[in-house]
Subunit: 189 residues, 2 copies
DNA sequence: GTCCAATTAGACCGATCCGTCTACCAACTG
DNA sequence: CAGTTGGTAGACGGATCGGTCTAATTGGAC
């Protein structure tokens, strides 16, 4: 195996930057390899096609969110803290300092330019479903299963709506306001 | 002036179908004119460029939403009915029977593939802001201005989040559930 | 030192991109 | 009638698209 700089990672990082900033279809293969500083054949050695690179991008983005979430999540968090760890992961993503500006949730943006039948949409749908499950788990410590389920759904909508509107405006303020709403909803349980 | 079939409308309708179903960058000019059944020069007689066509698409989509909303809005609606007219417009869009499937809010999807600096994003941001203002106006009939403002913001997030998740799943169920949440929130005022 | 697998730069492919241009045509206006 | 307007069909251009290929080079593993 070759040593560290890791061609595949360079490609994935470059693709992530460009896909997020300019969109997926607007980003050509040549732009990705130039940004990665890598030969074109290296892309096709590591990924089956552009679609394969997109798939890997979606999965990496999902994993990144999980990492942010786990970093926010202490051990044995209470219900309120657990919910706020989810909110915190959204805030971290929004405030990550993108070169070309914050443009909302990368996974939602990607899904928005994929055909209805594209398997990438399922990845994004599953990711959002998993986030809702995390919320439901935390809320279950504070209230009945039925209430936890309903509230998790409601909080999911608040978060996704807030990050969409925040993306349109280019900053995280609306996400912070949604976080405040969510915090007080959970505290009121 | 030429008579009815109206070349410009044919182009705008064709562009709307293709842009919504396949995304904007993935839709070429040649596909648009083929779908419209129109010569290429007719596109450039009616629009400055593809970007101009996109701009017109965004404005038309905004106008369509306003039409759906006004159709739902009786005269002198009460606060609850007014809010539910907004919700109804979202539902109408979701259930409009797209050839290639429901894929969420066309304006959010479009914004998702526009650069942060693209003027089209401002159109979408302003549209969402206007929707929130409508909500605030209706809620103002039922409660204090401060509460109306806060609740309008919250309902906006619920709606945008619900339509995003509904789009990922390809049907309007999540939007209906959000509508139920919103209805009971407003009734509780 | 020899081998091997990964990487390199870049030529090359056919297809498609957005946009321009020409030449012709149909319908309405005066 | 002549003139104007907006449409048609399609060739054309240069750029870029995703993807393949070759030939030379690299850096361990043995």
């Amino acid at each position: 195996m070759r040593n560290k700089p890791d061609t595949r990672s360079k490609l994935l990082d470059a693709a992530a930057r460009l896909f997020y900033a300019h969109g997926i279809s607007a980003t050509g293969i040549d732009a990705v390899i130039a940004e990665a500083g890598v030969a074109k054949m290296s892309l096709y050695n590591n990924f089956e096609s552009k679609a394969g690179l997109v798939q890997a991008y979606l999965e990496a983005r999902h994993q990144q969110w999980l990492d942010l979430y786990r970093a926010r999540l202490g051990e044995e968090p209470g219900g309120h803290d657990g919910v706020m760890a989810v909110v915190g992961a959204y805030l971290d993503h929004a405030e990550a300092g993108y070169e070309h500006g914050f443009r909302g949730c990368g996974l939602l943006n990607a899904a928005a330019e994929l055909e209805a039948s594209d398997p990438g949409r399922k990845i994004v749908a599953a990711h959002k479903e998993e986030v809702e499950q995390f919320l439901q788990g935390h809320l279950g410590k504070l209230t009945s299963p039925d209430t936890a389920r309903d509230l998790a759904e409601r909080i999911s909508y608040l978060l996704e709506g807030a990050i969409s509107r925040a993306g349109l405006e280019g900053d995280s303020r609306r996400l912070r306001r949604a976080g405040d709403m969510i915090s007080s909803m959970v505290r009121a349980l």
